[in-house]
Amino acid sequence: MPKKRIITFAEAINEGLRFSLLKNKNLLCFGLGVGDPKEVFGTTKNLQKQFGNQRVFDIPTSENAMTGIAIGCAINRCPVIMTHQRLDFSLLAFDQIVNNAAKIFYMFNGQFTVPITLRLIVGKGWGQGPTHAQSLQSLFAHIPGLKVVMPSNPNDAKKMLIQSIEDPNPVIYIEHRWLHDQKGHIEKSFNSKKIGKANLLMKGNDITIVSNSFMTTEALIAAKILRSNGIYADLIDLCSIKPLDEKAILKSVKKTRRLIVLDDGHDFLSIASEIISIVTIKQFDTLKISPKKITMPNFPVPTGYSLTKNFYPGHKDVIKYCQNIFDKNIKYDNFSNKNFHDVPHIRFKGPF
């Protein structure tokens, strides 16, 4: 059996892009920084060299028009993968995303498809602050016509990027900056299934934990601590926000009768709120206790180092809740970076 490869999340994205650019010679890849010396945190490394500056290129700082240009290319069967180094920048293109990308297939009754993938990177820590750290998946998922995916590990990052690019619809591909350096196993080949299936990462009968993107890292830490304390969780990594794998969630809650949803969007109208609403409406009677949301507070992310301390929710909140509902004292080592709370790992230095 061939040895499984271990690569970082950023390398996985790079591989996914290379694979897709090789496969479809009409595929375009552009965005601010795509061809610059840092190559979007290494994710677009060497792509311009390999595929030329007509297909892989840096763009004017014109997020709105460039999204429209992507749509124009896409309706003429040149799919586009466009990158924003922060999700927040894509808001300049909301008209194109909502009024054109999401509408064109429906509005013209299926005469055009819009195969564009927008890579939106969510910042966290090192003072990213109010305008560089927003995780706005709810905003995009609200719009009919868009698909929204949020991978949590290198293998899914590569697989779902390929799926997103091959999908004939506009796909919002949200990647968390703190995942870029995470390492993981990568499958040798991918069968390009459609977007929309969740992953069951851990199995258990006691509680259902639903999470996505970087929150899945927190959920995994929590679920492992719980397991060593005799509480067994079903851990569902959503992968896709829209379409949502309702079936997987409903099935799990039927079994465990308890539900926690982690989401790094603001609490009000979050993905967590939607999932809890679906479960309570569709199978209220399966719930033993009120479900729990672990989300971001309803105010912006502050910049200052001291203000962000204890700002982000995470595994501790899961454990606290479980301690309460299972009436059990849960013991665990502190997993988080003991020195600094605002970096993903000790080697990480700003500014990004």
Binding site: S62, A65, F112
Partner: protein, 328 residues
């Protein structure tokens, strides 16, 4: 006609071209008037932005940009561009009536037109937001080594949007084969240019500053419009660069709807009189003899009646259609 050094010397417009041009303008005028006339029956239940007064700009498209590979995108006032490029009349009228055999099965209406076969790719209804789509089409043509140029239509208000400049910048940067066409009718709904842009500004002069060749012309003079397009087409093909055209013109009807709204006094009487006197249809009247005119009117009337009868008799789409084709 003044021929500048950049442009090839062009032949004078032929008699046949003149007649075709007149026919095309008359046809669009009569179709638009029919829409206005039928609107009062409240069976066309979507907003319409009629092109009456501005037809000279859409009318020559089929003649000069015949191939479906020459592609058009437009904004909310797109009827004349759609019809001028050769968009299917029956599908268009059915779409206005929300019928199942409309160009988009009743989902789109007057503000979102398409007829790929004719090269009219799409129009959309947010000011400025189809401009980058046209630029994207031009870029994809380069990638796929496809022939044809892209014509992007918009009004004077669109040059006030950011996306217009962003799109123009990219088209210039990448030397794309695009003709940008600004139909300047001086009003954004009821707001005159003087409330929106500095008094002495000339749109084409301003746009020139970003580094693109521009031509300003009288959009109500069909011959001038025709010749300007010829120049533009020649320029784009020879120099492999985009060009910007500004056509000054005037709408006769209200911004949106089937009536005239001059009682609101947002346009001066002298202004209205001037433009009506210089109407594009009038300009060509002398070129067409009475016999020909009667023949034209008859032919157009027959085509219009057929299209409207089909639209009225056609079925509505099933209600279940409205949730279909959300995702491909």
């Amino acid at each position: 006609m003044i021929i500048t050094g950049l442009f090839h010397k062009m032949k004078k417009i032929s008699k046949k071209d003149e007649l075709d041009l007149y026919y095309s303008i008359l046809r669009i005028r009569r179709i638009e008037e029919k829409i206005a006339k039928e609107y009062i029956n409240w069976k066309i239940r979507c907003p319409v932005h009629l092109s009456i007064g501005q037809e000279a700009i859409g009318a020559p498209l089929k003649k000069l940009f015949k191939s479906y590979k020459d592609e058009v995108v437009s904004g909310h006032r797109a009827h004349s561009h759609y019809l001028g490029k050769g968009g299917d009349l029956k599908k268009f009228v059915c779409e206005l009536y929300g019928k199942k055999n409309g160009s988009s099965g009743g989902k789109a209406g007057s503000m979102h037109l398409t007829d790929k076969k004719s090269g009219f790719i799409l129009s959309s209804a947010i000011v400025g937001n189809s401009i980058p789509i046209g630029v994207g089409l031009a870029y994809s043509k380069r990638i796929k080594k496809e022939k044809g140029i892209v014509l992007i239509f918009f009004g004077d208000a669109a040059v006030e949007t950011g996306v217009f400049f962003e799109s123009l910048n990219f088209a210039i940067l990448k030397k794309l084969q695009v003709i940008f066409i600004c139909e300047n009718n001086f009003y954004s709904v009821y707001s005159n240019m003087k409330y929106r842009q500095p008094q002495n500004r000339k749109i084409s002069e301003m746009v020139k500053g970003i580094g693109i060749k521009t031509i300003k012309s009288n959009g109500n003079d069909p011959i001038k419009v025709f010749e300007t397009y010829c120049k533009a087409k020649d320029y784009v093909k020879r120099f492999k660069k985009p060009i910007f055209l500004e056509f000054e013109t005037f709408r006769h009807y209200e911004h949106c709807g089937f009536l005239k709204d001059d009682h609101l006094n947002y346009r001066k009487k002298s202004e209205i009189d001037y433009w009506l006197k210089n109407d594009c249809l009038r300009k060509l009247h002398t070129k067409v003899n009475k016999k020909k005119l009667i023949f034209f009117e008859k032919k157009i009337n027959k085509e219009i009646e057929t299209a409207f009868n089909i639209a009225k008799k056609s079925n509505f789409p099933r209600n279940s259609e409205n949730k279909k084709k959300l995702y491909a």
